[in-house]
């Protein structure tokens, strides 16, 4: 599964356990994605934040606030590493895990001036690409790439967008993929708000603060993005017999349909420690702010 390569790129094939669950659900998931950085970020619940390359100061400021607040709430911020809104969103979520989806190969960062940003986000987040190393991104690779931004995410927020812009393509993919579409309102006299206002007219959810996004996504997620701290289990549960019985209960709950660790804890009535010991999660590293010590998107199943 972990196949280190040049630049520290590893690959995830469709069907492999770590392949992002939501991306797997789209119509045309990439058969193979090349990943650099902290793959655990791919297991966080994710929100796309996209927008104009020539963002206004207000748009950039808002994107920054929004990305930071969503990151603090436990979401990975997914974007396209482009100039403007994309870059602002990635930067605001550097410490908690942000995901950059590239249109070219990992060694062909576009725009070139974001090479440093792409490197910086690898510590807690990751960059992914469906293109081979050496692939120079062409114009039509960008819209194609956009389906992965929405595909990784529970929903996409369009912060600023002119009438015909790439961000609207991402919003269209989100709709087609059954993901939530959010749009930030703007003055009708501001051409950078034409696209977002038009999304609002089509039924997108208006966003003026992170809470507007969280209140829509948490019910889909079925729980807060960043679960509250679970205190250690009472010592009695360390008893081996109890523990074996509990593990059997957990195993009985597993079937072909993936289930989250939180659901398992709730459904089994068994302590979190026992559920966790039923399978050892792979190397997720905790992030700075309000994150769980466990992969919040880890899915357990019997197959």
């Amino acid at each position: 599964m972990q196949r280190p390569s040049v630049l520290g790129v590893t690959y995830l094939a469709l069907g492999e356990p770590d392949y992002p669950v939501r991306l797997q659900a789209i119509d045309d998931p990439p058969p193979l994605i090349a990943v650099r950085g902290n793959r655990a970020a791919l297991a966080l619940p994710a929100v796309g934040i996209v927008g104009s390359r020539n963002a206004s100061a207000a748009g950039a400021k808002f994107a920054q606030m929004l990305a930071r607040d969503l990151a603090d709430a436990g979401f990975a911020v997914v974007s396209g590493l482009a100039r403007g809104i994309d870059a602002v969103a990635h930067r605001a979520a550097l410490t908690t895990g942000t995901i950059a989806v590239l249109a070219g190969g990992h060694d062909r960062i576009y725009p070139p001036e974001h090479t440093e940003l792409a490197q910086a986000l690898l510590a807690n987040g990751c960059a992914i690409s469906e293109m081979p190393l050496g692939w120079e991104p062409r114009a039509h690779d960008f819209p194609r790439r956009n389906r992965l931004i929405s595909g990784l995410a529970l929903g996409v927020v369009v912060v600023e967008a002119a009438k015909r812009s790439g961000s609207l393509i991402t919003a269209r993919f989100a709709l087609e993929q059954g993901r939530e579409v959010f749009a930030v309102p703007g003055s009708p006299l501001d051409p950078r708000a034409e696209g977002t206002n038009s999304l609002l007219k089509q039924g997108a959810t208006p966003v003026t603060e992170a809470a507007d996004v969280i209140s829509v996504l948490e019910p889909i997620l079925g729980r807060p993005a960043a679960p509250v701290y679970q205190p250690p289990e009472p010592s009695g549960l360390a008893n081996r017999a109890d523990s074996e019985e509990a593990a059997a209960r957990v195993m009985a709950l597993l079937g072909p349909t993936p289930v989250t660790i939180d659901d398992l804890i709730q459904l089994s009535g068994v302590g979190a420690a026992v559920v966790r010991n039923s399978k050892s999660p792979d190397g997720w590293r905790g992030s700075a702010v309000g994150a769980s010590p466990w992969p919040v998107e880890t899915h357990f199943s019997s197959i």
Copy 2:
């Protein structure tokens, strides 16, 4: 019905034929309204345009465009003669008929600097008040007055509004009265957009151009606000026997529920001239731009 008084004020009592049809339908219609100016404006399909007293330049510019375009489309613009958005909306619709709803008596124009505007709108539009002459408007007369702005209108557009503003009270009245609520989007960083964005989150229709309002209101109206010119009927229809039979068909369609002249024409399959001759509409004076020569809000019924 026409009782000329000081300042040329006439009165309309609830139940009188010229009492505005939609206002009559609200829970607490004023038993008597004092009207100055061209009463025929009260028979036009109306849209409320309201907003901040301390409007931004962009907000004022947008209100102007919107009011002019809605006026050109055949709508009367209703507002509260306040500073800011209200005044801009009235001014943009001076030539086609705009309705100012006052919080005090007709001889107590508020704010005083709008006395000239109040006078100017009387030529094609009118000012109305449920308060007696000499009534100095107090703080709580303004929210009370707002129910008449929405009550006269098919819908209300809120252009700019801070968090707790009078315009939001008008929007609330509109909702309670079953009228459409429209809101102009604005940047989340602009405090003057807090109220309108909050309305959007509550389900108000986003407005960036007049067409957004017209496309919602025309289906309610059942026809364009300004019907296209109807050519004279072919001479055969002037035949008296045909005409009597047609008139009978029109009469048969009438019942206790009011119906518009356009609906009658469509439902009876009878020429417009015959339907019109079935009852003579009272003195509606045509307005400058794109208006029908017939009272567009005239309702026919058998009682």
